[in-house]
Symmetry: C2
Subunit: 111 residues, 2 copies
């Protein structure tokens, strides 16, 4: 496997970014791409950040509240969280999520 072009998820450490939110995080020049696994019932309290966020549900159901608007999301739906808008979330079921941040989310830079 050519290491310049091809990568294995097994080589990316798992970060528990919030209790019950287990994330594999990829930083590109322009973005942070986070693949998360969340157990049913785990929640993240309201927060904001300057980075714009696009949130997708790969599997399961996740209730996201953006600027006071709650919505249960699944693989048929997605969310756009503009810069600095408060949002919170709760896993309705065990779920797999994908969050794409722009620009790079500096709070997720661990190295």
């Amino acid at each position: 496997m050519n290491a310049e072009f091809f990568k294995q998820f097994a080589d990316i450490p798992v970060r528990e970014i919030q209790p019950g939110f287990f994330s594999k995080i990829i930083h590109t020049k322009a973005n942070t791409i986070a693949f998360l696994e969340v157990k049913a019932g785990c929640a993240i309290k309201s927060h904001q950040h300057v980075e714009e966020q696009y949130s997708f549900v790969i599997e399961g159901q996740f209730e996201l509240t953006v600027d006071g608007n709650p919505q249960v999301l699944d693989a048929n739906t997605f969310a756009i969280i503009p810069s600095n808008v408060f949002h919170s979330g709760r896993a309705v079921t065990d779920c797999k999520l994908l969050d794409i941040f722009s620009p790079v989310r500096m709070a997720f830079k661990y190295d």
Copy 2:
């Protein structure tokens, strides 16, 4: 469903960007995010573009060749295609793919 923050994939048109490559395309300010479904055996010939590309396999197996290096990818792996590097691909099985381009891929702007 608050239309500012929440979107439905059903509202995104399917584009057949290459024969057998059916894509739902989301343009953000910084990126193009493409969710593709590809039938086994369908292929895309070698091409290049200025936009950097991160390619993920959600389901199935996809053989990607980057700068002459072939690799069968699945959900355990992903690819980084730098700006202007030639690449081609072929679906080994029916598969679901995610491509993230930076910056916005202008060739996928249809409107």
